[in-house]
Symmetry: C2
Subunit: 350 residues, 2 copies
C-alpha cells in the first residue's frame, strides 16, 4: 500500500473554537452517575450525591514542565490528567470529573491536539473520570495545559495535610527517584540527538524509569487498599516535588517535625544504578527529584501491624515535636541532616 | 517626599512556586459557608450543601484575548474572573468558588502578579466568590490565565441551553456592542501611541464603552430579578462571542429556529455614535462583537407580562420551528438575513 510520507495536516483555524472543542471531545463517554451534563453548555452540572466536592488545578507549560522534543503528545495528555488526579488521591478522595484548558500556538495542527486528547481519553478511561468541560484557545507561542480535577467523597474519608500527631508513622507508597532519573536519560539522549541526528538514542534497559517519567500513574488505588486494611491516614500528600519538600508541607500544616530514615527510602534497583551511572546521589534524587506521584501519609502507631507486611507501603520515618525539626537520619552514622525544600520548582529549575 | 522613580522590582524566582502562591493568596478571605478548606492542601474541599455543582473553565491568552499595551493588569485579573462567573450566571446558578491558574514568563515581576491578584480579589469580593485553589508556573513567553468557576444551585433553578420551545420569546439583558467598540477605541489610541509616544490618547467621552471592554460585569444579579418576577427561563446562554453565534447555540441545543428583530436590539447611544465614527455598522457590532457578557434567554410567552416593563430586559425575537432557520428581520423592509456564527473566535480574529 502506498503511504503518504507527508500527510496533509489541518490548521486549527479550519475548525474554529467551538467546532474544535466539539471535534476533540465528541467521542468521550461518561462513567460516573454524578456527571449530569458536560461539554456543550455554559457549564457542566455535577450531582454531588451527598458527598463533599474536592477540587484541584494544575498547569503544565511547554519548555518548563515538558519538552516536546522527547515527550510524545499522547503521553503529555495522559500525564497532565494523572498529575491532577494525584492531587485528588492525596485527599483520599475518588476523582470523578476533569476540565481541560489548552492554549496552543498556530504551529500545532489539529492532528497534534487529537494526539493530546487521545492521551486524555486514555487517562479518563483508565481512572474512570469524565471530561466535563474545557476551553481551547490560540496562544502567541508554545503550549500551556491547565486541568482542573474534581472528586467526590464522603466527609469521613477525606484526609488533609494537617492531622499528623507526634509519634505517628510516616508511610510511603511505591518507590522514589525513578521519574527524575528517567528525565535525565531522556535529556541526555535528546542532547546526543541534537548534536548528531543520525545517532540512535540508547534507551534500552531504562524501561522502568522512562515509564515513571513519561507515563506516571496516580495512586487512586491506595484509598481502597487502606479501606480494606481499616487504616485511615492522619495526614496525606502526593509526592510531586520531591520527598523532602512534601515532608516539610506535612510538618508545616500538622505542626509536627519528622525524622526520615535514609536506609528506609524505597528505590528501585534501576533507579539506583542509573543514578550511579550519571554520578548522582540516589537519595538526593528521591529527596528532590519529584514527579513520582506516590502518596506520603502518616498513620497512628497503633495501625502499624495492619500495614507492616503490605508490599505497597514502606514506613520511612515518624513524627516528633515541631521544635525538634525535620531531619534525615543518615544511614549507618545516624547523623541528622536538615531537610530543605529543594523540590522541583517551576521557577528555579529552568 | 522623595519618590523612587525606578522602584526595585522583585523577580518571581525570589519566592519560588509555593511561597509565591502563599504570598499572592494570603489576604483572601471567604464569603461562602460551602468553602470548607481552600489554598494550602492538595485540593480544596467544598460542601455542596444539598445543591448541584455547576462548573466551567475559560482561558485567556496574552496577544489573543488581551494586549498588555493597553489593558491594566488589575483590570485583566478582574475581567478573567468575570468571564468565568458569567458562564455560571448563564446556568441561572450562583457562583461560589474559583480556581486560578497562571503561566507567566520571567519578564513579569512579582509586582505584576500582585496587580493581577488585586483585580482577582476585587472581583471575588464584589461577587462574593472564594478563591479556593490554583497553580502558578513560569512559561517560556507571555501570560496565560486559566480560571475555573464553581457554582452551587438547587436543581430546580438551573437553566440549560436546551429548553427553548417554539413561540418562546427571546430576551436580552442590558445592551450590546459596547465592549467591541471600546476595544476599537483602545486599539486606535494604542496605534497612535506606538506611532508617536508623545501623543496623548483621546479617551474622553468614551467612558461607557471603555468600561464595557475593560471592566465588564457578570449578570449574577439576573437570577434574583427573575426569581422576584416569578419567571424561569426555558433556556439561557451568556453573550461572550456576539449575539448571532449565541442564538445559533440556543437553536442547536433547543432544536428550534429564531427570528431576531433588528430594531429591537438594545444599544447604547455612545455605542451607536462610536460605530458611526469608525464607519462600522452598529448592528454588526452587536451581532458579532462579543464580550458584552449580557444574558440571552427564552421565556414562555405566558410570562411576557411579568417582564415587559422591566428596565433590565428587552424582548428581541422569538422561537420558530427548527426548519424555519435562524434569521435577522431587517428594520423597515422586514427582509430576512441569515444569522451566521461570525462571533469572536480566538483562532480566527488574530
Amino acid at each position: 500500500m502506498l503511504e503518504d510520507k507527508n500527510p496533509q495536516l489541518t490548521p486549527i483555524s479550519a475548525y474554529g473554537e467551538f467546532g474544535l472543542i466539539k471535534h476533540l471531545t465528541e467521542n468521550f463517554s461518561f462513567e460516573n452517575s454524578s456527571t449530569e451534563t458536560a461539554v456543550g453548555d455554559d457549564a457542566a452540572i455535577i450531582n454531588p450525591e451527598g458527598k463533599k466536592v474536592v477540587v484541584s488545578t494544575d498547569v503544565l507549560a511547554e519548555g518548563v514542565h515538558f519538552n516536546l522534543g522527547y515527550v510524545p503528545l499522547k503521553h503529555l495528555g495522559y500525564k497532565a490528567v494523572v498529575v491532577n488526579l494525584s492531587d485528588i488521591a492525596a485527599m483520599n478522595a475518588t476523582p470523578t470529573q476533569i476540565l481541560v484548558s489548552l492554549a496552543v500556538s498556530n504551529r500545532f495542527p489539529v492532528e497534534a491536539l487529537e494526539e493530546i486528547y487521545s492521551g486524555i481519553a486514555l487517562a479518563c478511561k483508565h481512572y474512570k473520570v469524565d471530561l466535563v468541560g474545557g476551553d481551547t484557545t490560540s496562544s502567541t507561542s508554545g503550549l500551556v495545559m491547565s486541568i482542573t480535577a474534581i472528586g467526590l467523597e464522603d466527609e469521613e474519608n477525606i484526609v488533609k495535610r494537617n492531622g499528623a500527631k507526634v509519634n505517628d508513622l510516616l508511610v510511603l507508597t511505591g518507590d522514589l527517584g525513578g521519574a527524575y532519573l528517567g528525565l535525565q536519560i531522556l535529556e541526555r539522549e535528546h542532547s546526543v540527538f541534537l548534536a548528531n541526528p543520525n545517532m540512535q538514542p540508547e534507551m534500552d534497559g531504562y524501561d522502568y524509569i522512562l515509564e515513571r517519567q513519561l507515563k506516571p500513574e496516580a495512586r487512586t488505588d491506595i484509598k481502597n487498599i487502606l479501606k480494606e486494611l481499616d487504616v485511615k491516614p492522619t495526614s496525606m500528600i502526593d509526592v510531586s516535588d520531591g520527598l523532602s519538600s512534601e515532608i516539610l508541607h506535612l510538618s508545616d500544616q500538622s505542626k509536627v517535625g519528622f525524622r526520615l530514615y535514609e536506609e528506609k527510602i524505597p528505590m528501585d534497583s534501576l533507579t539506583i544504578s542509573t543514578a550511579e551511572e550519571l554520578n548522582l546521589n540516589p537519595v538526593m534524587c528521591a529527596l528532590s527529584g519529584g514527579e513520582d506521584y506516590e502518596l506520603l501519609f502518616t498513620i497512628s502507631p497503633n495501625d502499624f501491624d495492619k500495614i507492616k507486611n503490605h508490599p505497597d507501603f514502606t514506613v520511612i520515618g515518624h513524627a516528633v515535636d515541631l521544635e525538634q525539626g525535620n531531619y534525615l537520619v543518615a544511614r549507618g552514622s545516624g547523623e541528622l541532616i536538615a531537610l530543605n525544600a529543594q523540590g522541583w520548582d517551576a521557577f528555579l529549575n529552568k
